[in-house]
């Protein structure tokens, strides 16, 4: 005999195929969970890098103000390295540098590191940096011109690139990179390899043709696929890509 089943939701015991409904709910939940696993597994490989904000230490080195605030230090692994200085946010530490401070300093900060790319995030407050009269005086490295270069990739902020955000590139990160550029953070050039930006950790710092920080005029290009014609310059352990604004082409 045919059953004229009719569902009325407000009834205490609605006329419903309970077994079918329960099985459907279980299937939908399991299917959703399986889909979630597949979507998560299909995400592209994030870059390496880390930032343990809870691990605040004192770092000794020599302060350098240009092109960005830098600490030349051997505290990382005994080798003289360039550590860019930043705040805990998307703003430059430059306005917080005491005007007359130079030479050896002691910086209280947490480490952001991606392989040999290093940044120190200063603690909040005025006592983040202090003179270090007994500190070693590391010599400023010489510049080495590596010649002209044409590169395709993406201009982005070095802080996220070094590990503050993983991944710290691509369309969804564009607004963040623009904010960091607006805040005066160091910029890097993420070279696209086989159409993918983000695999290598030795991408260059991005500066203007004279080796100075780009101003806010760079912001419209940040986070977009671009090509750049410029020069590669090595300064100690940091490679710089120097290019003027008019050498940037949006792709």
């Amino acid at each position: 005999m045919k059953t004229d089943r009719f569902f009325v939701g407000w009834e205490t015991a609605p006329d419903i195929n309970r077994r079918g409904f329960a099985l459907g709910a279980v299937a939908l939940t399991l299917g959703g969970a399986g889909l979630a696993a597949a979507l998560a597994r299909a995400q592209s490989l994030p870059q390496s890098g880390f930032w343990d904000q809870g691990d605040v230490r004192d770092w000794r080195g020599v302060l350098q103000r240009a092109p960005y605030p830098i600490l030349r230090t051997t505290d990382i692994d005994g080798v003289a390295r360039t550590a860019f200085l930043t705040t805990s946010g998307k703003t430059s530490v430059a306005p917080r540098l005491p005007r007359d401070l130079e030479g050896p300093v002691l910086v209280r900060a947490s480490l952001i590191r991606r392989d040999d790319a290093i940044m120190l995030a200063a603690i909040d407050g005025a006592d983040w940096i202090a003179p270090d009269p007994g500190g070693a005086r590391l010599a400023a490295p010489a510049e080495e011109d590596l010649g002209p270069v044409f590169a395709i990739g993406e201009i982005l902020d070095a802080k996220c690139w070094f590990g503050a955000m993983r991944p710290g590139f691509g369309k969804t990160h564009k607004a963040c990179a623009a904010l960091c550029a607006r805040g005066g953070l160091p910029l890097a050039f993420c070279v696209s390899r086989n159409g993918v930006c983000g695999e290598a950790s030795d991408d260059p710092l991005f500066l203007d043709a004279e080796g100075r920080a780009h101003g806010r005029a760079i912001i419209p290009y940040v986070g977009d696929p671009v090509s750049v014609e410029g020069r590669l310059v090595r300064v100690g352990d940091v490679t710089q890509l120097r290019a003027s604004l008019n050498a940037i082409r949006r792709l």
Partner: protein, 342 residues
Amino acid sequence: MGHVYKNVQWTPFKKAYDLGFAAGVVAFIAVFVAASLVSWPAAQTISIPQILIRAFGACAFGLLHVILLIGPLARLAPQAFLPLLYNRRHLGVACFVVALAHAALATMWYHGFSDLNPLVSLLASNPRYAAINGFPFEALGVAALLILFVMAATSHDFWNANLGPGVWKALHMAVHPAYALLAGHVLLGALQTEQAPLYAGLTGAGAALVVAAHLAAGLRQMRKDRVQEPLSDAWIRVGALADIEDKRAVIVTPPSGAQIAVFRDGETVHAISNYCRHQGGPLGEGRIIDGCVTCPWHGFQYRPEDGRSPPPYAEQVPIFRTRLEQGIVFVHPDPEFADARA
């Protein structure tokens, strides 16, 4: 017309429904987060906030697909899918809440921690509306979220009753533009960075499924909506009484005016408007229960004799005159209560 407001009645079915989809949402997000964390070495994993942003976003977009599919599937296979329609508004509110979590976290993470207001950054940091690859996809997400908010905020029957079923339904049809905006948000945002074929394939398959289900339900409805011409005395021939299932109806589409549901109740026939006062549900697809025509969507009831809801409820739908001659049913297309036309 008056309305009687009552506390939400948490029937066992409602509890099971909400518990079921809440478990599904939690399972989706938990599995997404866990699978993201174990996919790479600790030093290479995606930042936790970014994992959560992606999990919430994918979950909300998936939920919206489910919500959009329930309507047409309930028309195509009522016995299987009508129970899902009953509490669909709960799913809609859940979708908004998950989407809001995605938006709040993304705004904080990508647009916060600077001296610029995060909302200013969100809406004004990228003005490249003329470019496909540079398009500010965030604006599409904001627009969709606003629509989802309005729908969630007006989901209660209070708004349905005060706006009227026509306005309320039109407002909630905005779910379709919201879906289009979200598809654009995904295509011009995440899919420009994440290039695994699974993402593009699923987005395309989801859209195809939603469109196909709506087309199938629409085509079926068009076939059912064939206009029935009246006889010379204005009455419309419905058909043989024996061909109408007891306690059920056939739907008549007059040349002008709204559709009529002609019910058989034993050896008698009654005709009432096909449109429920609640949300415009198809009364003709309902059934007579305890002597009342019962809407298949949310169980609103009307007495077939006078079109009124049984006390204490005060809704009313138009009724129509019927005639039974030698086993053939006729209906007159002029409503008896013109002031209460749905």
